[in-house]
Symmetry: C2
Subunit: 137 residues, 2 copies
DNA sequence: TGTCTTTATCATGATAATATGATAAATTGA
DNA sequence: TCAATTTATCATATTATCATGATAAAGACA
């Protein structure tokens, strides 16, 4: 559903959100804890930082931390950096033009499904997921 | 959402379903009409035929046709040959073990979304899509 | 039989996603 | 200043997806 890269990004952000006030976290720690290749994760975190989702500091005691409160950070802001979420919302049959007025065979039925997926990413916050975890555990 | 290959397969089956009683259709015609690379489509159709979705005949007047009535052919049977639909239904965070009892942070919320997607493919038939087209055009 | 048309299959290439390894740049603190 | 630690970045390898080109095998029919 998500690319490997987007999934890694989401897991990394979630990891940071869980230990929100512990200061910065090193790539090495996260890579080990989440079992994500170190340099690969490094680039993902860097990209999240450039997008303003994370803040990074170099040198000793450096690392990454959330730059946005978890309750104001939507999954969309994380995932859309790596996957074309809006594209998949479009035509199931890949038509360049497909809308309510120029519908493909699947349009009306698919639209409802695609909107459900899109709403999930747009409306769910990182904090929502943390709460989800508490409830389920 | 779907891989290019699965999307091609779906479009090809839909094309055949639209002209259900016209006998067999050649790869060349479909490739041209659907703008899919000829040899690539050829392999996709062959795979659909091996799976029993299509029937193929060689030689002059050969080609492909549906092997199953459109109203008994679910999109899942087509798409699952090329994409791992069930896998994506699973954990958003990629956990090998993630269920109601061993839930990841996203589980309860994601489950509803994933079930919506899975139900679409499992319950929608090719005939449903053809009807959808009629209504919208 | 022999030729034409078609699917079936093999071999290869192109591109993007995923990942690894090495080095540069910044920061801290002795 | 200098060494240690960390992110930032570059170069390259690996793998899967998407696609092309050529040939083999099967069937129809004059």
């Amino acid at each position: 559903m998500l690319s490997q890269t987007a999934e890694y990004a989401l897991r990394a952000v979630l990891y940071l959100a869980e230990r929100a006030d512990d200061g910065t976290v090193r790539v090495g720690e996260m890579a080990q804890a989440l079992r994500i290749p170190h340099n690969y994760l490094s680039k993902i975190l860097h990209r999240l930082a450039r997008a303003g989702v994370l803040a990074s500091t170099r040198g000793k005691a450096g690392g990454f931390q959330l730059a946005v409160p978890a309750d104001r950070l939507r999954l969309y802001e994380i995932v859309a950096l790596f996957d074309r979420i809006d594209e998949r919302r479009r035509c199931l049959l890949g038509r360049p033009q497909c809308s309510d007025s120029t519908a493909c065979a699947a349009h009306s039925r698919w639209k409802q499904v695609a909107d459900t997926v899109a709403s999930f990413f747009r409306e769910t916050s990182v904090a929502d997921l943390l709460r989800g975890a508490e409830v389920s555990v």
